[in-house]
């Protein structure tokens, strides 16, 4: 049985003259907490946008949960996405947005209360999304991504705006999520988070994958992830 939940061959993308992604070969297996690291502008978000059907690649192929990324709707139905820049519909309230997500995904809306409670947004349920703080928006986005209990989630800097208490709660949740045999693709440049959570890590620099491996494989004797990262990206 094929255990690869993400499989890419030669993915490339350019924006004008800037090469955002260059010949990316990547395999992520089921049940992995996969960390995708890189400095700002390295191509992390572009990779996620391509893999989740938000952006077409210029060349190369990829499949997510066995679905060709060209079938973007099927990909988006199957996975959960927390984007780096969270944009929510301005004029819907928090509850309405989650109900909207359930409607679009054609699932029952009985999990809304659980997620409002989990993300501690119960008191803000009637607030318009545009009036939420950035951290609250991120929490709504997190709830929306997990509402349909996907087998794979793409998280693009998901902890950037949430407070430490919520960060801790989300990390625990993600660890449990992995134990259920599901997969997380986490893009971040915060090395401590990757070090604590990820079972395997890839580092990308200027659109090119520079290394992939388990944490143990990446860490040479006496070195920590920060040193390895700095050596690779400089």
């Amino acid at each position: 049985m094929n255990q690869n939940v993400i499989y890419t061959v030669g993915l490339s993308k350019t924006y004008g003259k800037t090469e955002a992604l260059c010949n990316l070969h990547l395999v992520v297996e089921k049940g992995e907490f996969f960390g995708f690291l890189g400095p700002n502008g390295a191509g992390k978000t572009t990779t996620i946008r391509i893999l989740t059907g938000q952006l077409p690649p210029d060349s190369g192929k990829a499949a997510v949960l066995g679905i060709d990324i060209k079938n973007s709707i099927a990909v988006k139905k199957a996975v959960g996405i927390v984007p780096e820049v969270v944009t929510l519909p301005s004029f819907l309230t928090v509850t309405e947005y989650l109900e909207f997500v359930c409607g679009v995904r054609e699932i029952e809306s009985d999990r809304i209360e659980y997620w409002l409670d989990f993300t501690e947004l119960s008191e803000n349920r009637t607030t318009l999304c545009r009036d939420l703080s950035q951290g609250m928006k991120q929490k709504v986005s997190f709830a929306a991504a997990f509402m349909h209990d996907p087998a794979l989630v793409f998280l693009d800097e998901p902890f950037a705006d949430v407070d430490p208490l919520m960060q801790n709660k989300l990390k625990k949740f993600l660890k449990e999520y992995i134990k259920q045999g599901k997969t997380v693709f986490l893009s971040t440049h915060i090395l401590e988070i990757a070090e604590k959570l990820c079972s395997r890590i890839a580092i990308i620099t200027r659109g090119t994958l520079t290394t992939t491996g388990t944490l143990a494989e990446l860490l040479e004797e006496g070195k920590d992830l920060e040193e390895v990262f700095l050596n690779l990206v400089r």
């Binding site: 989740t52 709707i73 519909p89 004029f91 909207f100 409607g103 679009v104 009637t126 607030t127 318009l128």
Partner: protein, 457 residues
């Protein structure tokens, strides 16, 4: 030094924001060139127009138009940041930088205000005047006086707009003071000729010139003195809408957007100005050609149907589609919901206008036919606009090739129906409107194929 820098940064920002709406910067340069041509043509036609019109009336209209333009420029400038926030999320204009940098809002605002004046003077009024000057039809001294008086009309318009906006931000009710003052002046019998720039133009007195400048400076100084940043201090809450259990979620979202954003008010009033404009054209045509044009209701129905493009544009302007990018939603699904809502909203409003016009024009006998004709034009215009521009009609229509296709699709239908309406060929109108309706359904169905695989961003 810093002040010069602020002005140039504001100007760059405005330029980049405006050009971002166009497919290329070159296309944006066409705009002032077109204005040079318009100015040239307007001045060239003066000797002919003079025979049919009182030139004084035209000059008054021109000055009032520039005053209104100034009001528009000022209003847009003041709320541009709010618009940018809605569309670009965290993208912020320079005017908002007082929140994170050690600079006062007033200091940024002063240069923002100067930028608005410089930018729109250079981009629109200067080319218009240049074109008129190049025609060499107006004596230099008269021309110079018109330039000064009309520029002052524009400046007073901008300053009034900023004053009203500043008052509104401070205390919404106080903005009503200005219409009140205007009303008092009207009741007191002050005529438009007493408007200082016009008074300077017609009476050639320096006092009016000084008064015009003083008004502009006074309004500006008050506006700058009382200004404060636009901030949303209240968090709006709403009980859960029941729409999600009644209609599909995409349509429910669109309806809620229209209600809560206040766009429904714009939808209702967006027909008013163009209808008033159309009436103005007929009024002047009547004077120019010296014969009475008996415009039938169906002609207005065609025009109202076309105006629905505005409504469709507004619907696409409420909220950007970016949140949908992470959900399993296609562009064609969004487009179809927009057209559904558009058809419901615009028909409702447009039929109301048509009924009112039928009453005014005594055209109740052709009301049903007019509604049918308007409905088919409305749906056709929406289908063509959606087909060619997708979710971005406001920006895509600035693309030369898209605009050419749009005009090629729309104009023949409008011209044909307008001619048939003026000739009162009702059977032919039914036939053409029906054909247009069938073609609209065809285009509506083609949306899916055209936008299959289109990426939302």
């Amino acid at each position: 030094m810093m002040s010069d820098h602020l002005l140039s940064l504001h100007l760059k920002e405005e330029w980049r924001m405006m050009t971002s709406y166009f497919s290329s910067e070159k296309l944006f340069f066409l705009f002032p060139l077109v204005l040079v041509f318009v100015g040239f043509l307007m001045a060239l036609l003066i000797p002919f127009i003079e025979k049919a019109f009182d030139i004084k009336e035209l000059l008054v209209a021109f000055h009032l138009l520039l005053g209104l333009y100034g009001l528009f420029v000022g209003g847009f400038g003041f709320f541009a940041d709010e618009v940018a926030q809605t569309w670009f999320g965290e993208a912020r204009l320079l005017i908002h930088m007082h929140t994170i940098l050690p600079i006062s809002f007033r200091k940024i605002f002063i240069w923002f205000y100067i930028k608005d004046i410089v930018y729109y003077l250079v981009l629109t009024l200067v080319p218009l005047f240049l074109g008129a000057f190049l025609s060499f039809t107006i004596p230099v001294v008269t021309f110079a006086r018109i330039v000064v008086s009309s520029t002052l009309s524009f400046l007073i318009g901008v300053s009034v707009s900023f004053l009203v906006s500043s008052l509104y931000v401070r205390k919404p009710l106080s903005a009503g003071l200005l219409p009140l003052v205007a009303g008092v002046l009207y009741v007191a019998g002050v005529s438009y000729e007493d408007f200082p720039p016009l008074s300077f133009l017609f009476r050639k007195d320096l006092f009016s010139l000084g008064l015009s400048v003083a008004l502009f400076i006074t309004f500006s100084v008050i506006s700058l003195a009382i200004t404060k940043p636009v901030t949303r201090t209240t968090t709006k809450t709403f009980s859960k809408s029941q729409l999600f259990s009644r209609v599909d979620p995409l349509l429910a979202k669109e309806i809620i957007d229209v209600r809560r954003s206040g766009t429904w008010r714009i939808l209702i009033t967006s027909y008013l100005f163009p209808l008033f404009f159309l009436y103005g054209i007929f009024y002047f045509s009547e004077k120019l050609f010296n014969f009475s044009l008996d415009i039938p209701l169906i002609f207005y129905a065609v025009f109202i149907g076309y105006l629905s493009t505005l409504v469709y544009s507004w619907l696409n302007n409420i909220d950007p589609p970016s949140p949908m990018a992470v959900l399993p939603v296609t562009t064609s699904q969004l487009l179809k919901r927009k057209i559904k809502l558009f058809s419901m909203a615009s028909l409702l409003v447009a039929v109301a206008y048509l009924v009112a016009l039928a009453y005014i024009l005594s055209g109740l006998d052709v009301l049903l036919l007019s509604v049918y004709c308007m409905g088919s034009v409305t749906f056709y215009v929406a289908a063509v606009t959606a087909y060619l521009c997708g979710l971005y009609p406001n920006t895509r229509l600035f693309d030369g090739s898209v605009l050419a296709k749009y005009l090629a699709a729309i104009l023949p239908v409008l011209i044909l129906l307008s001619i048939l309406s003026l000739m009162r060929f009702h059977t032919e109108i039914v036939a053409v409107a029906s054909a247009v309706l069938i073609f609209s359904f065809f285009m509506y169905r083609r949306l899916e194929a055209k936008y299959e695989g289109a990426y939302l961003s």
